[in-house]
């Protein structure tokens, strides 16, 4: 437990200090949402209708692009070697790093979403639904992204490889996240159905992500 907490605390400290990546995701999120109306037009009715989708796409890209250096930084300075050698199972170490990343990148996105919802003229119900689905769904994005981050580190390739690998994997999360948000406002499906599936996807990713990423890292150290 001490080791897990140490990893969590360390990663959050690094993210919050100078040079850390916390808040970068939110800034990206804000920028994407700001740019959208320039392409779509300032029609508030249209924005209201597609607002949940815009917010979900923005959050999806923001949470994945920031994952790039999650393991690569530890690999480059030799920390990953020592973490792999430690008595803490690598799957748990990966999960701790994923949680730290979600707390510093994913959670701020959830908090920012209602404010950005105002820009898109969303109704209070829609804002609540988007925030709730993002709260449930962004951990799935982060933990699925762990696999891509591990692959990019094992292959010593950074940059765009991660999103290219991971974005297709996030399709189900996107479908049910947006479906649940829309269901809360316009229907016709009740909110509960897609939302429960979204919860299930998140729970599955919490298990699959760390195991797949752990296995990748262990193989990739060769």
């Amino acid at each position: 437990m001490t080791a897990l907490r140490a990893l969590l605390v360390r990663d959050m400290r690094i993210a919050l200090r100078v040079g850390g990546g916390a808040m970068m995701g939110v800034l990206f999120f804000l920028t994407v949402v700001t740019l959208m109306p320039f392409a779509i037009g300032p029609d508030l009715e249209l924005l209201r209708r597609i607002g949940p989708a815009i917010l979900w796409i923005g959050a999806l890209l923001a949470s994945l692009l920031a994952l790039d250096r999650l393991f690569a930084a530890d690999h480059d300075d030799g920390s990953l070697d020592l973490i792999l050698m430690g008595r803490l199972p690598i799957e748990l170490a990966v999960a701790a790093k994923g949680l730290a990343h979600w707390l510093t990148t994913g959670l701020p996105l959830v908090i920012a979403a209602p404010v950005l919802g105002l820009f898109l003229n969303l109704e209070p119900a829609a804002i609540g639904a988007v925030a709730l689905t993002l709260l449930v769904g962004t951990p799935a994005l982060t933990f699925t992204g762990l696999i891509g981050a591990a692959l990019a580190t094992a292959l010593r390739r950074g940059g765009l490889l991660l999103p290219v690998l991971v974005l297709p994997l996030t399709v189900p999360v996107l479908i049910f996240g947006v479906a649940a948000s829309n269901a809360a406002v316009v229907g016709p499906v009740p909110f509960g159905t897609p939302f429960t599936i979204l919860c299930a996807l998140t729970l599955a990713s919490l298990v699959v992500g760390p195991f797949a990423a752990g296995a990748t890292l262990r193989q990739g150290m060769e």
């Binding site: 040079g19 800034l27 804000l30 320039f38 300032p42 924005l47």
Partner: protein, 244 residues
């Protein structure tokens, strides 16, 4: 007092220590006068008491722009004259500019709710300010991502200059985009037709806000100079420690 004197951070600190209390007092007085005027000002026949949000909104918008102008001059100071205080001024102005721009957006939204029935419309003026706010945040992110202030300073100076060149282009593009889409007619503040009973407190508030900005900025610059000294001392401590 020659300009070169200010280049010496020690002398700068001494001057700030002497000026800041007076400046603070002046700011408080200015706010007392301006706020009094703002409360006394009559309600608008169309907007009611909502118009008083303008007493905060307009000065904040002015400072948001003023601050970028100041950072542009500082950026030239950093890149061309290598003035040691220039990037201190630029760095400490960025969060202030972002804060005033945020206040401008926030008050705009609060004003827009009763006026337009929604917190936000993609009106040309508002949208330009939003883009400027995003650029401020980008600048803050740049300052935050590099630990060495000298290196960060040059990068930020270039970004500031590029931003200063781009802001008018962005403003023009947004206006064009907006007219293209012909938005629903919204209530606008008519430019020169403001009644003197509103105009005078508005000017007073603008002056008070500007004084507030200068006081905050000088204080922040002093803190930044001291922070950099602490950093230098700590670097020195590492260098002179046993067996460095």
């Amino acid at each position: 007092m020659a300009w070169i004197d200010l280049a010496n951070p020690t002398r700068f600190l001494r001057i700030v220590d002497r000026v800041l209390p007076w400046l603070t007092a002046l700011t408080v007085l200015a706010f007392a006068f301006a706020l009094n005027g703002a409360f006394e000002a009559p309600d608008d026949y169309q907007q009611g008491a909502t118009v008083k949000i303008m007493f905060i909104h307009v000065p904040a918008a002015w400072l948001g722009m003023f601050c970028w102008g100041m950072m542009t001059i500082s950026a030239l100071g950093t890149l061309v004259f290598r003035h040691p205080l220039a990037d201190v001024a630029a760095k400490t102005a960025a969060p202030l500019g972002a804060a005033f721009t945020f206040v401008c957006l926030l008050t705009g939204a609060l004003w827009g709710r009763p006026m337009w029935g929604t917190y936000w419309v993609w009106d040309a003026r508002l949208t330009s300010v939003l883009v400027m706010f995003v650029m401020y945040l980008g600048l803050l992110a740049l300052w935050r991502s590099v630990e060495d202030p000298a290196r960060a300073g040059r990068a930020a100076a270039i970004l500031t200059l590029v931003g200063a060149l781009n802001l008018p282009i962005i403003k023009f593009s947004v206006d064009w985009w907006n007219t293209l889409h012909q938005p629903a007619s919204v209530v606008r503040l008519g430019g020169p037709t403001i009644h003197p009973a509103i105009l005078i407190p508005l000017l007073a508030m603008t002056i008070a806000f500007t004084l507030l900005f200068v006081a905050l900025h000088l204080g922040a610059m002093r803190n930044e100079v001291l922070r950099r000294r602490v950093r230098t001392l700590r670097l020195l401590q590492a260098q002179t420690a046993r067996g460095a």
